[in-house]
């Protein structure tokens, strides 16, 4: 997989690199070729126009010379050849090849012997018609012109071959220079596009490295964001994604940790009474014990069994909360508390506790059973915390759109460092005492769940040895609109 990813990365780099280099070279070659071609054309055209002048002179001279001849003059061909020769000399065309043909294609004059080329004479029509052609002959290039000289004595053709090899040589020179320049340009463009491509793909490579680091488990790693183009946005998005992922992962890990802790604590809570039960039962069956010892064993088995039973009830309550159908109704807090109090009176009387209840009239949206369970648990905690003749205060006040229920006692309090963990399942501030009083360490975890079901929040404050106050803030019930809103939340 890593290889595939790597190949992908390289591909983009080479694509970028080769594409850019190709483009630069293509534009450069088109431009230079065009330049070279037009320079070449310019030279040729220059030669052509110079030759055109000569041809016009030729035509003019021949025509005027022939006109001056008598009509019955027989040796016209010869005369034309003579005129031609004199013209070659006077026009300075000694370096050119000049041939004059009769209308039948028969050559009547040639200033230099050289290889002849056949011509398509028929294509030339009309006065002063001229035909151009570039001819290569014996390693030399010639600009060849064939012009018609119309005359009442008959048509003559003049061929002038002008040597333009020097233009070709010049072009060759230019070509070799061009090749050198092209080579330099290729190198330059190569370096440039390499740098550009490297620069262009760098953020992508960084991003890829970052992603790989992240995948390898370095969840703290982020990509350094630079510039402000699309890749930057991508990098920012990546970082944002990494942030969210890290947060989620942290939350999941936290969940798993809590789950593991719960399982471990549960196992501990299960194994401890089991050890006693199994041990004492084993004693009963294997040893001959005195009546007193038998009683002791039986008592331990019974008490530890009861503890297990209590634990199983609490566990069911906690587990069942997720499945139980929760019925939320607008309920008066005062009525709820008054309904709950009689059930608690027994326990309170046992310790001769004084319970003061002061509640404002207020309606919250609640499930009656769950509220009952919450209130009982908290009140029971207060009862356990109090010495004999202690005081418990239950206060309810309305502030803004909250109903605040406070349950306070002047019992033994909770050490500051324990307050944070007190809501965790199986957490007990004083294990041995909690067990003696029949606690399984699940009460607060249960309360926490109930509080969150009611969209409420709660806090526990305490002063060790002085007091403990539990404050629950319920959202106040505010008529039909709120009801439908919350109803949707809960179902």
């Amino acid at each position: 997989m890593a290889g595939k990813r790597k190949r992908g990365k390289i591909k983009l780099f080479w694509k970028q690199f080769v594409g850019m280099l190709g483009l630069i070279l293509l534009v450069f070659s088109i431009f230079s070729s065009f330049l070279l071609y037009s320079v070449f054309r310019m030279y040729v055209e220059e030669e052509k126009s110079r030759m055109s002048e000569k041809i016009s002179m030729f035509q003019y001279s021949v025509r005027s010379a022939l006109n001056g001849l008598p009509e019955e003059y027989e040796a016209i061909d010869y005369a034309v050849a003579q005129i031609g020769e004199s013209l070659v000399n006077s026009l300075g065309s000694q370096n050119d090849i000049v041939r004059i043909y009769q209308k039948k294609g028969e050559m009547i004059y040639e200033n230099r012997t050289s290889k002849q080329i056949s011509h398509a004479y028929d294509e030339l029509r009309g006065e002063n018609a001229c035909m151009w052609q570039t001819v290569k002959s014996q390693g030399n290039y010639y600009l060849q012109s064939l012009s018609l000289m119309e005359n009442k004595k008959g048509n003559y053709y003049v061929e002038i071959d002008h040597d333009i090899t020097y233009i070709y040589q010049k072009r060759e020179e230019l070509y070799s220079q061009y090749r050198l320049i092209l080579l330099i340009a290729t190198l330059l463009a190569g370096v440039l596009s390499f740098l550009f491509s490297a620069n262009f793909t760098r953020p992508i490579r960084q991003l890829s490295r970052g992603a790989r680091r992240f995948a390898a488990g370095d969840y703290k790693s982020r990509v350094a964001v630079r510039g402000n183009d699309e890749v930057t946005v991508l990098m920012e998005d990546f970082n944002h994604m990494a942030d969210r992922l890290e947060k989620n992962m942290h939350r999941l890990r936290e969940n798993v940790r809590q789950q593991e802790e719960f399982t471990a604590s549960f196992a501990h809570e299960l194994k401890t009474p089991l050890t006693s039960i199994v041990g004492y039962a084993d004693m009963l069956r294997t040893m001959q014990l005195s009546a007193e010892e038998v009683f002791l064993c039986g008592d331990y088995i019974f008490r530890q069994g009861t503890r297990l039973e209590h634990l199983s009830y609490k566990m069911l309550e906690l587990a069942g909360m997720g499945e139980k159908k929760i019925r939320m109704h607008p309920l008066s807090v005062k009525a709820l508390v008054e309904k709950t109090m009689p059930a608690m009176q027994m326990g309170l009387k046992e310790k001769q506790l004084c319970c003061e209840v002061q509640l404002e009239e207020g309606t919250i949206y609640a499930d009656e059973d769950l509220f009952f369970s919450l209130f009982c648990n908290l009140l029971d905690n207060s009862r356990k915390a109090c010495e004999e003749f202690g005081n418990i205060y239950v206060k309810g006040i309305i502030r803004d759109d909250l109903y605040i229920l406070v349950i306070e006692d002047d019992g033994r309090g909770i050490p500051k460092e324990e307050l944070e963990r007190i809501k965790e399942a199986f957490y007990m501030v004083d294990k041995s005492r909690a067990r003696k009083e029949g606690g399984a360490g699940l009460g607060m975890a249960l309360c926490d769940k109930i509080v969150s079901i009611h969209n409420a929040c709660w806090k526990i404050e305490s002063q060790l040895g002085e007091w403990t106050a539990v404050t629950i803030e319920f959202p106040l019930y505010q008529g039909q609109r709120e009801k439908t809103g919350e109803g949707q939340d809960e179902t």
């Binding site: 471990a264 196992a267 501990h268 194994k271 401890t272 009474p273 089991l274 050890t275 006693s276 199994v278 041990g279 004492y280 084993d282 004693m283 069956r285 294997t286 040893m287 001959q288 010892e293 002791l296 331990y300 008490r303 530890q304 004083d430 294990k431 041995s432 067990r435």
Partner: protein, 218 residues
């Protein structure tokens, strides 16, 4: 007499261990939290400590260090069954590790074996007219050596170390053969019969109907 300190915060378990160790002939002191255990270690000399890991005030690991400095062997008792916890406990120098729930007979066996390792216990047991050398694995009856097989010796040791205790067939099988007991297996009975015959213990190893055997010294 061998003195054992038991530090366990659960009263029921603490009592269970103390009762059984006392019945096995050890002098036992119980501490219900780490602080109490540390105080006792300071005041008295012990031959062996049994510590719970999760103790109030002072944890089992800390107590272990203290006990080690006094060169007292330590067995951990805990509900934490994870391998890492075991490794941690043993690496810190614990001599053995018991995971709750445990059987009393197993606890006694481990206590015995740790004590033997530290030579805190007698090498030779004198029971009735027999002398059993635990390390040499030899038995003499009235001064005459008796040849026992490996399993027979273990069986004898189990009986002698758990007098007056009904030993269930499955318990015997699991302790001596270290395997899971099959309902119809006659292995235990055969070995017990042979042991009785070899050592003339017919009167002292009682058969308990449908349960197993009990060793009585009288």
């Amino acid at each position: 007499m061998i003195k054992i300190l038991v530090a366990e915060d659960d009263e029921a378990i603490s009592n269970l261990i103390c009762m059984n160790l006392a019945k096995a002939g050890y002098a036992v002191k119980a501490a219900l939290d780490g602080q109490e255990a540390a105080d006792m270690l300071e005041k008295e000399a012990f031959d062996l400590c049994l510590f719970d890991i999760m103790l109030p005030h002072i944890g089992g690991y800390e107590l272990l260090e203290y006990a080690k400095s006094l060169q007292i062997p330590v067995i951990f008792l805990t509900a934490k069954g994870e391998t890492m916890d075991k490794v941690k406990g043993l690496r810190l120098g614990a001599d053995d590790y018991m995971v709750k729930p445990f059987q009393i007979i197993e606890l006694l066996a481990r206590v015995e074996s740790v004590l033997r390792r530290y030579h805190r216990t007698v090498q030779k047991l004198r029971v009735l007219d027999m002398e059993i050398d635990v390390l040499a694995r030899t038995v003499t009856k009235n001064g005459e050596p008796v040849v026992l097989t490996y399993k027979e010796f273990d069986l004898l040791l189990l009986f002698v170390q758990n007098p007056n205790r009904a030993l269930y067939r499955e318990t015997i099988y699991e302790r001596v053969w270290d395997d899971i007991y099959m309902e119809e297996s006659r292995t235990v009975d055969l070995h017990v019969q042979r042991l009785k015959k070899k050592l003339g213990l017919e009167r002292h190893i009682e058969t308990i109907y449908k349960v197993g055997y009990r060793f009585v010294e009288k």
